[in-house]
Structures are given as C-alpha cells and as structure tokens.
Symmetry: C2
Subunit: 253 residues, 2 copies
Amino acid sequence: MGTQQLESVPEPKYWHLKTVLSEALDSDFTVGEILPNERDLAARFGVARATLRQALEQLELEGRLQRRRGVGTTVAPPRVGVAVGAEQHVWPGAVGDAWQPADCTPAVPPAAVVGILESGDDEQVHTVRRSRVTHGQPVAAELLYIPTSSVPDLSAIDAPSGPARARAVLRELQRLDLDGQDSAVELGSARADDARELDRLPGAPVLVVTTRFFAEGRTAAVSIATYRADTCRLTFGDSGGVEIHHDPERKAS
Amino acid sequence: MGTQQLESVPEPKYWHLKTVLSEALDSDFTVGEILPNERDLAARFGVARATLRQALEQLELEGRLQRRRGVGTTVAPPRVGVAVGAEQHVWPGAVGDAWQPADCTPAVPPAAVVGILESGDDEQVHTVRRSRVTHGQPVAAELLYIPTSSVPDLSAIDAPSGPARARAVLRELQRLDLDGQDSAVELGSARADDARELDRLPGAPVLVVTTRFFAEGRTAAVSIATYRADTCRLTFGDSGGVEIHHDPERKAS
DNA sequence: AAGTGGTCTAGACCACCGG
DNA sequence: CGGTGGTCTAGACCACTTC
C-alpha cells in the first residue's frame, strides 16, 4: 500500500470547530450580532454541546466572542487598547489618570503583598479600591496598598472612609518624590469580588498588573490591578490608542 | 420559619474544589511533587472527573500546576519573571538580548501584520523566527516581520536561509537609528506551530506581546512574541528579576 | 502493557435574563 | 414564563509516556 502520511495527526474536533467558527465570524457576522444558541449550533455541527462549548470558550478567550448567561453569545468588538505603562512615571491619582477611587480601608495586607512591600509582617496599610472604565465598560479593578508610613501627615480631619478618604490618601502620596516604578503582567482568574465589578463570572481570565512605586529608597506603594483579559489589550509605551486589528476587514455594527 | 439567607448563593463545586486544592498545595505539597491522578482525585472528592478537571484547569491557568499527558500533574514552581520592556529601547538582535534566531524566510505578511506595518498590501518582508529560553525551559516563540525596505543593503552573499540569514538581517537592522518602540500585551491561544515550540498543546493560553519598532518616521519592524502564560510573568521597567511570590511560604523542592 | 491526561458523548438540572 | 448560558454526571475512547 502507498504511505498515507496525511491524517496521521487528526486534530481534535473542538479545534477544527474553532477554526470553522472563526472564519464564519470573519465573513458572515458583524460586531454585536447574536449567534444561534449552543444547542442549535452543536446540532448543526453534529457534535455534543460540551464539545461546541470548548470551541466557544477558546474564541471567547481570544476576544472574538462575548457570552452572557440568560442572554446569548454575541460577536465581540475588537479589544480596546488600555494604556498601563505611561512613558513618564506618575503616582496613582495624579491628574488625568483613568481610575476612579471607590473606597479606602485600613488593613494588614495579605502575605503576598507583604512580600512585595518588603515591610514588616504586620505593618498597617491603607487599602484603596479603584475601578477603571473606558467606553462605558468596566475594564479593570484595582487594589492599592499604601503603607501608613508613606502618608504620615494624613489629616485626621479627612473622611474616615469611602471615596473621599481614598482621594485624601492619594493626595498625600503625591507629596513624595517618585523615584521610579515597575510593572509585571501575568495571567490570573478573577476573584469573586473583582468578577462582580468587572461584570464577569468568578474565575474569568484576567490580566493581573502588579506595579511597585518607589520613593525614598523603598517601595512606597503597590498596585494590583486586574484587567478583563477578553476585552483588553494592555499597551506600554508611546502607542496608547493605536488600533491593532486581528482582522482589518471586520465591519462595525 | 427563620430566614436562611446563608447558602442562598451556593458556589459551584469546581470553584470550591479549586479553593480546597489550592490550600492543600500550599500546605501539603512541595514544588515538583506529583499529585494523585485525576480519577483518584475525583473519587476522593466525590465529584465527576470533568468537574475535577475544571478545577485543575484553573489552577494550571494560574500557574500553580503543570499537567502533562502520559505523565501526570505536578506542582509548578513560581512563575519566572521575563523582562520584555527594557528601559532603553533597542533593536532585536542587539548584543545581550535573550532571543535565539532560528530561521528567516521571505514572505508577504498576514493581513493583521500589514495593518500594523501600515505598508502596502503586498510588500515583501523578511520573516524571522526566534525562540527564547530561560532556566532551560522554552518560554516564548517570536515572529519578526521586517520590511525589505528596512534592510536595503542586505548583501546577497549572506546565507539564503536559516539562522545565519536571520542574524544577517538583524545585523542590517542595527544600522538604522531606532526612534522608539511600543508594546501591547493581550491574551491569546497558541497556534499549532508555537505550541510545539513551547512544549504545550495547541490552544494553550499565551501572552501575546506585539512590539513596533520605529525608525525614519515609520514602522521599521514588528515583533509578535507569544509567551507561555502558565509559566511566565512579563516584567516592564526596572525590575527584571525581582521575586514576587503568591505564597512566600512555599518550599523549594 | 499499564497508566496518565486529553477528547467526546448524551443526557440532566441550575441560575439568570428578558418579555 | 421560556430561552439562554453555566454546571455536573458517568461513562467511553484516544494519544502519549514510561517501563
């Protein structure tokens, strides 16, 4: 018999399915359009619903689809570019930054943060919660950890909690000279509270940006920001809003 | 009857399972240790294997576990920090960069790259493949697109293909004055070829770093690098190798 | 050959959203 | 209320690694 090298590595059904769906999205659908429901799609392709879902999950991970329980599956718009690494380093809360303070509470930070701060095990910090919205959609939730020693002159007259107190803490922080900052990006899954704020289910994939702010020869603040991985493209450098399309032909709805 | 507000929002089994496993990993396991196989684990927790797998998948996504077909599931070491945004911008292939050129072929770039290059639809580019290894493990695969117009003086004497030609192209690129660069990070899934190079299955989650290099008032090169999302933490700024642990208590094996 | 994780099935029920 | 996506089950078979 002749050698039949072809098909010696059959690709999984869900992988092939994903490719087919991806091409269909490019050619036959517009942004925002609703796909048939999962049971119909599975039947149409002759696969079990679980297999179909495996393909949809990947497409959602790649930002091509958006699924909402009780509603349906829609074609996602291109990812929005979100600037996270400004050319010039600035304190959080500086004029013009994209974050909205939500709350501020005193606490001892979790162990992971203590390791980054390199502070004492039980040093108190101000924990500031902020959220970031672009194009009317929530894209990120942030926890800022600011050792009390970084804002020693915080007036007792300021609000004891809430957004007002958050702003007061950040205002105090501005008084320090910022020596530098650095960031790291990694993949994570949304905790329950972050998920609620991002309008996603717990466990949704997120890009976790950890930023350290240096002043007076030590780490003066730490930010842990979680961005929706399905809708965001994090930009570093000069290019803030430049559009990058996977498919330049994609039509607007 | 008394109001029983508690348990009004029962969390999914796999989510609870993930929490339990995560704590067990912290307290009862060391890096590199092998977990019981999935069928045993599922039986031990009284759930179906699919449910157990859903928990394991999340833990793998978070870099806590490593699973290999035919081998088993092991406790993953902390993610490695990989510097991707140097303080000073440099051309790819400059002395001391972490990439190893693998090949170079001429081609017309895919549509997505044409959009980034803002070049003519059918301009030829040199496509350089490179790979990045740290700690003996492959962490990233890269495709570099360099318009022929960026390296006009490429000698015909140089090797026609392979690593030698890749180095020759990059060497020519160094002669341009680099005006600046910017990067973007987003979540993606590994294509078949990248997956093979990264020692993962196709579709594995990856962090896609798109970098544009500017010279002479235009985009002189574009790099699309895919990093293993399970094992990598991408660092920007001054902090290259500083350790950040999720769990400082975790023991080394 | 034995054991692992990866894929796939055909069902069931639940949580959520909209009319 | 009906329809959607989300969770869960109990099985089966396949691809791969190791011995």
